[in-house]
């Protein structure tokens, strides 16, 4: 299964805007062929809002609440704004069926732990934020926690076609850009004026 890579389009848009086009043309004799190839990619349709592919609604709410503890939103877009949960749902439905039982078991255990610790509550997502934080701290290192963490980080920083990293908020947060072509200077230290003579 192959997906289009939107960044390829941006790369070509950059190139055709003439940004580094002379430089590119010099280095890339087959630019025209590449252009043809890259623009032939089908437009992906994943990650559009809609029904869940794997989760039930309550399951998705629970996992998203955990993801929001891992990458909170109060200082800028976090797991919720990146729509990490759509990546998790898509991944479990399509790519990693072997992880489904661990998610189901982990969510059942989470509910049991919530009931035991906070009588009257059944769902992690309904707990006060500081209670959620405490529960997450207690869970860190467990197999379920690590799995949710792995999926959340992948959902924050994956190619947007997978449904996560919506609006590229994850990439913007870390300062990554999939621009397909860079030219020197790349960073501060390789600028001529910053190098010792």
């Amino acid at each position: 299964m192959h997906r289009a890579d939107l960044s390829r389009r941006r790369f070509l848009a950059d190139a055709s805007r003439g940004l580094p086009s002379a430089w590119l043309a010099l280095r890339l004799p087959d630019l025209a062929r590449m252009h043809h190839h890259l623009t032939q990619q089908p437009v992906p349709a994943w990650g559009a809002p809609g029904r869940w592919l794997f989760f039930t609604d309550p399951q998705a709410v629970e996992v998203e609440a955990m993801a929001a503890q891992i990458l909170p939103s109060h200082d800028g877009p976090g797991a919720r704004e990146a729509r990490c949960i759509r990546f998790v749902d898509f991944g479990l439905a399509k790519f990693w069926p072997e992880d489904r039982p661990a998610f189901r078991t982990g969510l059942r255990q989470l509910s049991a732990d919530v009931r035991a610790k906070y009588p009257g509550y059944t769902r992690f997502s309904r707990l006060e934020p500081n209670w959620q934080y405490e529960m997450m701290s207690a869970m860190e290192g467990s197999a379920f926690f690590e799995m949710v963490r792995t999926y959340t980080l992948a959902g924050f920083l994956c190619n947007p076609e997978y449904g996560g990293n919506a609006g590229r908020v994850g990439w913007k947060h870390i300062g990554f850009e999939d621009r397909f072509s860079y030219r020197p200077p790349f960073g501060w230290y390789d600028r001529d004026e910053n190098r010792p003579s």
Partner: protein, 553 residues
């Protein structure tokens, strides 16, 4: 002018059957078909082209797009023979036409003279299999040069005072300086070390009709979309096919090398893409299936005539498995490094290629700053070990460190140990019903000390370069490797080696083994150019043997 690619019938005994279309198999396919021989190359992975490569970390890292998938080809691991083995993904290799060189980083280091004669020059180490190669640097030098010019390498020979002699400069100037390289230079100068432009199998300019690098930043782990990486997929394999005599047969998973009553190889039995068995006949067989799959295949080819596995009268098939040693440290800098922009590194340091005897350790290595962490992997594992792993502070650090840090990596020797092995798992099977690979591996004390010693140097380099914060990744026993070396070592004595110095199996006159498996020692962490150079040299030897009639009917 491209000839039509031939389609040989399985019953047609081609001149050479090559198992594995990677760094070695691709070179041999090209060299032999150019010289007029009829060649079939069986590759277990798919035939992907540049148009199939994506900047997609999920696909590459988490879905095994270009490597062996442990869900269908499981492995087991134990650190010692006395321990039970458990299912574990230890060995990763390129599973595609082009093999691992397709998605390697691009580091193209020649071995130095010392790598071939370490045992006699610096002394053996008790309890290890450290030995001299049956060939020297001088024997291989013309083939390093040929690899560099036929495939396309950027660099500046002689800029490192530790460089071995080059009969010709590199064909292309070095890749541009980046901030990792500038910091490597800065630190090295303060310490009196010698940073030099890393030799890279990446085109700094267009070469032989291929594109120059456009600095997209997706080298390690990814295929190059513009053919600027000098892989066998971009260079050797199309040239082999253009002869009209070489058929590359992808999705062909070899399960056995067949032999006749005279003990000669007659071809290979493989599963095709529909998992049907096919027997391709050949006059000679060349196994180029890396240091892990090569011994597995030879062991799976056991018969009443070769009860311990094919070509294994020495008992050494699968033994002396070598992974390269490495260590990782990290540093945060005041200004932007932006290591994700463009190629991962530009300069490297060879001051510790050979250690001063006062250090008291065997071997040596290289080191440099680089940044080869893609976004997801970075967030998973590249912050300092004492940083929070989730929550507001974790998120803040992600935002600060991605653009402002370097990874200080060292690459070191490991000692060949008879107890480090590839064997067949006695119970676990893969999806085709073949015995799973069992890896037994434990680092020698010298090698763990060497990794620590080199990590100390990388921390010094971080301090000298002005890191505002630096950290060490914990060093652990090796349990994951992509550099798979040494399991069918070459040598002059059939009792202590699997092939002779022409890569011919001592036991089977028309069977050759050429890949990382052929290595007697593992070098200083960058084996790929030596694999290619060995393959160029092996092709020359094999052609001479074939033309002299020494390969028989």
């Amino acid at each position: 002018m491209h000839m039509a690619t031939p389609r040989y019938r399985p019953s047609d005994p081609v001149d050479f059957l090559i198992v594995g279309a990677g760094a070695a198999g691709g070179v041999l396919a090209r060299e032999l078909s150019v010289k007029g021989f009829r060649v079939v190359v069986l590759e277990q992975g798919p035939y992907l082209r540049e148009k199939d490569f994506r900047h997609d970390e999920v696909d590459q890292t988490y879905r095994y797009a270009l490597v062996n998938d442990p869900r269908i080809q499981p492995q087991t691991f134990r650190s010692r023979e006395s321990e039970p083995s458990t299912r574990h993904y230890t060995v990763q290799y390129g599973r595609m036409v082009g093999g691992g060189i397709t998605h390697f980083t691009g580091n193209f280091w020649r071995f130095h003279e010392i790598d071939f004669v370490e045992a006699s020059r610096r002394g053996t180490v008790a309890g290890t299999g450290l030995a001299d190669w049956p060939i020297t640097y001088q024997d291989l030098e013309p083939w390093y040069t040929k690899a560099e010019w036929d495939m396309g390498v950027s660099g500046e020979a002689g800029t490192s005072p530790f460089d071995p002699p080059h009969s010709k400069p590199y064909p292309l100037p070095p890749m541009p300086l980046n901030s990792c390289g500038a910091l490597t230079q800065l630190g090295a100068r303060k310490l009196g070390w010698h940073a030099f432009p890393a030799p890279l199998a990446i085109l700094s300019r267009p070469y032989q009709g291929r594109s120059g690098c456009i600095e997209c930043g997706f080298c390690e782990g990814f295929g190059c979309e513009v053919r600027a990486k000098s892989t066998t997929l971009a260079t050797m394999i199309p040239e082999a096919e253009a002869t009209g005599r070489c058929e590359i047969r992808p999705d062909s998973y070899v399960r056995r090398i067949a032999t006749d009553r005279q003990g000669r190889a007659t071809g290979a039995i493989y599963f095709d893409r529909h998992r049907r068995e096919v027997f391709q006949r050949a006059k000679a067989v060349i196994v180029c299936a890396n240091g892990a799959e090569t011994p597995r295949l030879l062991l799976m080819s056991a018969s009443s005539q070769f009860p311990d596995g094919l070509a294994n009268s020495s008992g050494l098939v699968g033994k002396y498995l070598l992974f390269n040693g490495y260590s990782v440290a990290g540093g945060l800098f005041e200004h932007e490094v932006n290591g994700h922009r463009g190629f991962h590194l530009s300069h490297t340091i060879h001051d510790f290629y050979e250690l001063d005897p006062s250090v008291g350790l065997s071997g040596g290595g290289g080191l440099e700053f680089r940044f080869d962490a893609y976004p997801i992997f970075f967030a998973q594992a590249q912050l300092p070990p004492d940083a929070p792993r989730w929550g507001a502070e974790f998120k803040r650090l992600l935002g600060q460190y991605y653009t402002h840090s370097v990874i200080a990596e060292t690459h070191t020797t490991t000692l060949p140990l008879e107890t480090n092995t590839i064997t067949l798992d006695p119970t676990l099977k893969d999806d085709w019903g073949l015995p799973a690979m069992r890896v037994t591996y434990s680092d020698h004390e010298n090698d763990l000390k060497l990794m620590t010693w080199m990590q100390d140097r990388s921390v010094e380099l971080l301090d000298a370069a002005g890191a505002v914060r630096r950290w060490r990744a914990p060093l652990d026993n090796s349990s994951f490797a992509q550099h798979l070396l040494g399991t069918c070592r070459m040598g002059d004595d059939p009792k202590t080696s699997v092939t002779d110095k022409s890569h011919r199996a001592h036991d089977v006159p028309n069977l050759f083994i050429c890949s990382g498996a052929s290595f007697v020692t593992g070098g200083r962490g960058q084996p790929t150019e030596t694999i290619c150079a060995l393959a160029f040299r092996a092709a020359d030897e094999i052609v001479k043997l074939a033309r002299s009639g020494a390969l028989g009917a």
